[in-house]
Symmetry: C2
Subunit: 452 residues, 2 copies
């Protein structure tokens, strides 16, 4: 039932395309799901993909466009004339996908494409949708809805629904509104199955409906749909009038993107890149973090430089520089990641900052005691300097405590300032902790080497 893309499949398809064997090429893909065809495009070069695309029927061609990765789609659209985009693609898409696609075009091309759309209702919907911010409920929603009036009875309702359903890909809910288009509730397939043939909508609708406003942030939309296990969510305007609906598949994309972004931030990658992007794009996404690391390293060098005499006197101090610096960075990232995740899922609860820091202090204390004891034991047996032994242990303990508290505090502070707390898992925390670790280590070393 499911298609598995293989090297052999692509090679065979390529041969057909290169030989311009339209029938043979079409035979290979005609039974496939649009998502599978989109996957095939990613293995072809742009001319091969275009050859294949022109063989598809309009509906499939439009669906494939929706399934393509944004970068690939943009490149693809550039190669197509505006009239073709409007009449062959946009015409067969739901309004949210159409608006997303048009939103990716240059301003000039946008106007051109819109002017070619023949269905004025659809053109109006798309222009409406383009006005919303991309990362709000308005930017996610589609205008296609099945709506019925609460004053209708079941037979009228069925007739109306039938009319409207023809336009829509997939129906999960029927929305119920009053005469002013204010959202009143929903009808689900289950409710309709169980309703008697002549029931009045008013008596069978489910009024317990969760909705969002057009300006609700996408992340909140995702959290709401996840929390309440919804497959579709109605969107209302400031007056409570029904204007669109968001389906779970759009939100799954939001969630995936959000998770990937956090993952990339903590890995030290700044923009949304993928393995298949160009080396230049990959470099650009990675180098800012490395620059921060470089800058941190230079400050670290200056810090150590201040203690050059001590290092000259006790060169063994240098042995544990990487250990102390790395542990500071590691502990800090651990602490901040836990807070960032709690913030992202809204599960931080109502404890005060003080209480959270005390808890982190306890965790850091346990970790610190265990690790300092281990390194103390190691150095006690394998190092000939007791001053070094005690310096490394004390410094490690101090660094773990400092990095934990700092790693907890920074994302909480960023969250309060309405700055994305995930930024705190990246370069900043690690670098500051590296440097602070070095500083503490060398300070403590100077002290203990003077004593012992």
């Amino acid at each position: 039932m499911q298609f598995e893309l293989t090297r052999e499949f692509i090679d065979k398809l390529r041969i057909h395309i290169d030989n311009k064997e339209e029938v043979a090429a079409f035979e290979m893909v005609k039974e496939l799901h649009p998502a599978d065809i989109a996957e095939i495009y990613e293995e072809l070069d742009i001319d091969e993909a275009k050859f294949l695309h022109l063989l598809l029927d309009g509906e499939t061609a439009a669906d494939v466009m929706v399934e393509l990765e944004e970068d690939d789609r943009e490149r693809f659209l550039e190669a197509l004339p505006s009239e073709f985009i409007a009449k062959q693609l946009i015409d067969k898409m739901e309004s949210d996908d159409a608006a997303d696609l048009i939103g990716e075009l240059s301003d000039e091309k946008q106007e051109e494409v819109i002017s070619y759309i023949e269905d004025l209702d659809q053109a109006g919907d798309i222009v409406d949708l383009l006005n919303y911010d991309e990362d709000t409920a308005g930017g996610l929603m589609a205008k296609e809805l099945i709506t019925v009036n609460e004053n209708w009875n079941m037979p009228t309702c069925l007739k109306e629904m039938r009319k409207q359903a023809a336009e829509i890909d997939e129906v999960y809910y029927v929305y119920v509104v009053d005469d002013n288009n204010i959202l009143k509730g929903t009808l689900s397939l289950k409710r309709m199955l169980l309703a008697s043939a002549n029931a009045n909508i008013k008596n069978i609708l489910n009024t317990d409906v969760i909705s969002v406003r057009t300006d609700t942030k996408s992340e909140e939309v995702a959290n709401i749909m996840e929390k309440y296990n919804l497959v579709a969510l109605p969107v209302v305007d400031a007056l409570g009038r029904l204007v669109g609906r968001i389906t779970i598949d759009d939100v799954v994309d939001v969630m995936r993107e959000e998770a990937e972004r956090d993952y990339q931030l903590v890995s030290g990658i700044t923009t949304d890149v993928e393995h298949s992007d160009s080396p230049w794009l990959l470099t650009r996404a990675r180098i800012p973090w490395l620059f921060i690391g470089l800058f941190g390293g230079i400050i670290g060098a200056l810090v150590i430089g201040n203690y050059e005499t001590d290092l000259g006197l006790y060169p063994q101090m240098a042995f544990f520089i990487p250990l102390i610096a790395a542990m500071g960075g590691n502990v800090g990232v651990q602490s901040s990641s836990i807070i960032v995740q709690a913030l992202a899922t809204n599960s931080l609860g109502f404890d005060s900052i003080g209480k959270k820091l005390s808890k982190e202090l306890l965790v850091a204390g346990i970790n610190g005691i265990i690790l300092s004891t281990v390194i103390f034991t190691y150095n006690y047996f394998f190092s000939d300097s007791f001053a070094l032994t005690i310096t490394v242990s004390c410094a490690l303990f101090s660094v773990i405590i400092f990095a934990s508290l700092f790693g907890t505090f920074v994302p909480m502070f960023l969250g309060k300032m309405k700055i994305d707390p995930a930024l705190a898992t990246g370069p900043f925390i690690t670098t500051v902790n590296d440097i602070m670790g070095l500083f503490l280590y060398l300070m403590i070393g100077r002290l203990f080497f003077a004593i012992f």
Copy 2:
């Protein structure tokens, strides 16, 4: 429409609970969604939550249990008698949630609870579901389905569907089977709305249905539902007989958990923990990574120890130790994260390992040249040793190249070995790169300080 949990709400509710004011407490929660009530429980202690729970009606009480976090639920269930669990909770749940809940109990308690279930069909379904691995389609699916026979006509079908719908929370699709219960297709609300009143099922079913087998891995289930934008996915056995269905909300949890796990691995946290877990659990999740870091640090110390004489001769070498070590770690994590993500989303394509390594080499080369030039310029003006200047630059360049290739190779190798490649973003890569970085730095230093 939506409930926002506040400190004041909890405080007020607590006062009612502490004063045993049942009516007042119930008034505060009776209108809330089960997911909101579950959120409230997390702010209460276990006795307060139990007091509230006993006020709820059976349906809501069961739904709240489903919404609770796994840890909280386990603690909660321990406090409840088996008979209550079977008759008040299990009885009102869908089979997948019931099986998850029972699966969390001790073996002994499991048997006890199952023996109390009065509905033998449901008990049978649950026992069936408990046999499947938790992380397979069988472990995710529910047994509640609406199935119709392909040979029926619409009126028979509607009658049957009505009977079955009463048992099910939410209906997205009606599944069509043949006489042997082999899955033939689906009917959606849209199809049913558009069908004529006397249509035969055979003529209106959608045969283009995607299904998975009971032993399909959960991650693959999630990838399939995301790729094909499905809200429900039928599960078949080895013979193609329909045995259950997975809904998108269960898969959203799988996706969220997978993303969190990757995020935690790259942050150096080993098991699935949350901010609200006990300090002991948090320590246990964090310390293995720190131990690897400590172990790496000790090896680092041994490496540096081997060059003690050189460091005594050129103490300025010590200044850049943290920079070199940190850059190796950073570059390695960047490289491996990109590969890990590509593997997770199946988007690695068909390029050979050699081609991927050459691409990474190019990216590393650009990064390396830029960063080495910057540090060269810095040291040229601010350091008095030309040998140091050239050593740091060359070492930095070599480290970036090594760490990139190693960071790319390891997750690809793990993936090939069927080991979770996300492990490669964690401790191992960073530590090896730290040590290799030091080694290269000191080797190159010895060479250049001998020359210049």
